[in-house]
Amino acid sequence: MPADIVLKKNQDQSLSLFLSGEWLSKNNIDNRAAVFDAVEKKDFDSIILDGSQITQWDSQLTAFLVHVMEICKQNNIRCVLNNFPTGIDSLLALAFAVPKHTEAAKTIQHKAFLTFLGNVVLQFLEKTKSVYAFARQTYASLVRFFLGRAVMRRADLFYEFQEAGPGAFPIVSLICFLVGLILAFVGSIQLKLFGAQIYVSSLVAIAVTRVMGAIMAGVIMAGRTGASYAATLGSMQVNEEVDALKTMGISPFDFLVTPRMLALSLMMPLLVVYADLMGILGGAFVGIFMLGLSPEDYFRMTMKALLMKNIIIGIIHGAIYGVIIALCGCFQGINCGRNASAVGSATTSAVVYSIVWMTIATAVLTFIFSVCGV
């Protein structure tokens, strides 16, 4: 038998509620809504609850009673409990033992549009300030490092170099080889029309060294290393590990940010050279095995197209991307909130901001290089 309530309006301005059945959390309460509608009307001065027909009960009953009693309390309605199972009194007493927390009882508010706009602007200013503070502290920390005064563990530094460099070889090899392959393949379709397949080698060599190698390495490192920086520093923030460093007088910038900055900005140029190599190999794969060019011809043409100028431009891109990725990753990590979902959004932002800023940097660099005529 499920939980049931019978309502009865009495002559003397009181309302009787007869509760019966199994008041268990696995059952729904019949006509619960009707009862609360009646109670909310408050056209009576006392409520008499009768529990003599209740066969079984758990929190379902207690929760219902607490709700009814609270409404009564707020409206100065007398509330009487008759024939309720033993044990429920002490539970009710326990539930009412601590007064409800009301001061600034939190409710979710809908804000007006102007308030919303204002908050967005304020948040943006706040963010800009913290970016500036971060950049300043990172710079100060780098200066300390070069003066030999930064506190960090050499093992950490080596580990970061290892992770940002050789650790990325497998994925960089795979992706850049494929990109070289795709470039050659797509290019060859057009060049074949003119019988100029041999220029596939030049196309791949120029495209990969000038910008593609750097961009591919950058995107890979943003997803791989930038995200890992944000997640690592973010969870250190959550576990109060960063606080522990600060209270020991160790700057988290010296200890955590600088090693990562150095590692990524020094390893990125090398990764770019490696990515160039892999891209050229990918192109050669198509040229030699699918277009039937001879290896000697292919590499001769490649060497002709490889200009020191382009390689250096690629490396410059790489170095700048490295700085951007390390900055975004560490910034998001250090400014991470103190819970698990904050770490998630820090990681996402790290990758998104890295890619956005890399794109902006590429545009600026391309403009500068073309103005300078290189």
């Binding site: 959390s25 929190s59 207690t62 326990l94 539930a95 698990a340």
Partner: protein
């Protein structure tokens, strides 16, 4: 004679090849406050993960309300069904940080009952009232103190009116007053809701105040070296290690 509420026989628990404990047997009766004592690193938390079905014992059986839980042909489905009658309060509270307190308590109710949203809201309010957090429904775990997190964790553990609640060091990190209040709360909830309690704790005042039965896990011999009500054990300690533990090494 009634069936024991929770019965563990001959547990051996290992991590890889390292034996953490062996030949551990004990019985928890209904409405006991059963304390698992032992020095740091002796495997209390590990034992709790086994008792709650997260880790498999290398050997041994566990019976829960007369039904097999580990061994005797128990399957994962059996364990899941039985664990629905159990609540767990983790050492850190383990509240889900992306949900408000009300959402934390409501989740098990939404998962395992057919209650309407209004009924769930009432039950959530009751559980938070019971642990003294009435009115904190819309707070996030990051916005309340450590002791409040423990109590909110308790409210969540109590969401489904469990028959048994497991506690891992409920008073760790609380001040003596809060820790005593939490003990009182646990006792009151036990008495009012007829819950059985299995608790890992180092807090001597708690042990003596609320424990009705206990075991002592020894890190050296990796097994249970004493069993009984804590107050009895204090009067007649069966060995030096336990005496040392219960008297904090004082003479």
């Amino acid at each position: 004679m009634t069936v024991p509420f929770l019965e563990v026989s001959d547990f051996t628990v290992t991590y890889g090849n390292t034996v953490i404990m062996h030949d551990v047997s004990f019985t928890v009766n209904k409405e006991d406050v059963f304390i698992i004592m032992g020095g740091s690193g002796c495997g209390k938390s590990t034992l709790l993960t086994v008792l709650t079905g997260l880790k498999q014992p290398a050997k041994g059986t566990e019976m829960f309300v007369g039904r097999p839980f580990w061994g005797n042909g128990a399957t994962k489905a059996d364990r899941d069904a039985l664990m629905r009658q159990a609540g767990i309060l983790y050492q850190s509270g383990a509240l889900w940080s992306s949900m408000t307190l009300a959402e934390n308590v409501a989740l098990p109710l939404e998962q395992y009952t057919f209650l309407t949203a209004a009924e769930i809201k009432d039950i959530v309010a009751l559980k938070l009232d019971l642990v003294g957090l009435g009115g904190f429904q819309n707070y996030y775990p990051a916005e309340i103190s450590g002791g409040m997190k423990k109590r909110a964790g308790l409210a969540r553990a109590l969401a489904l009116d469990p028959q048994i609640v497991f506690f891992d060091e409920p008073s760790a990190g609380l001040d003596p007053i809060s820790s005593k209040n939490l003990d009182d709360l646990i006792l009151q909830i036990k008495e009012n809701m007829h819950t059985t309690i299995v608790m890992v704790t180092h807090e001597l005042p708690s042990i003596f105040a609320i424990g009705t039965n206990s075991i002592y896990l020894d890190a050296q011999s990796k097994t249970v070296i004493a069993q009984g009500s804590p107050n009895e054990l204090l009067k007649n300690p069966p060995n030096e290690t336990l005496k040392h533990f219960l008297t904090r090494g004082e003479k």
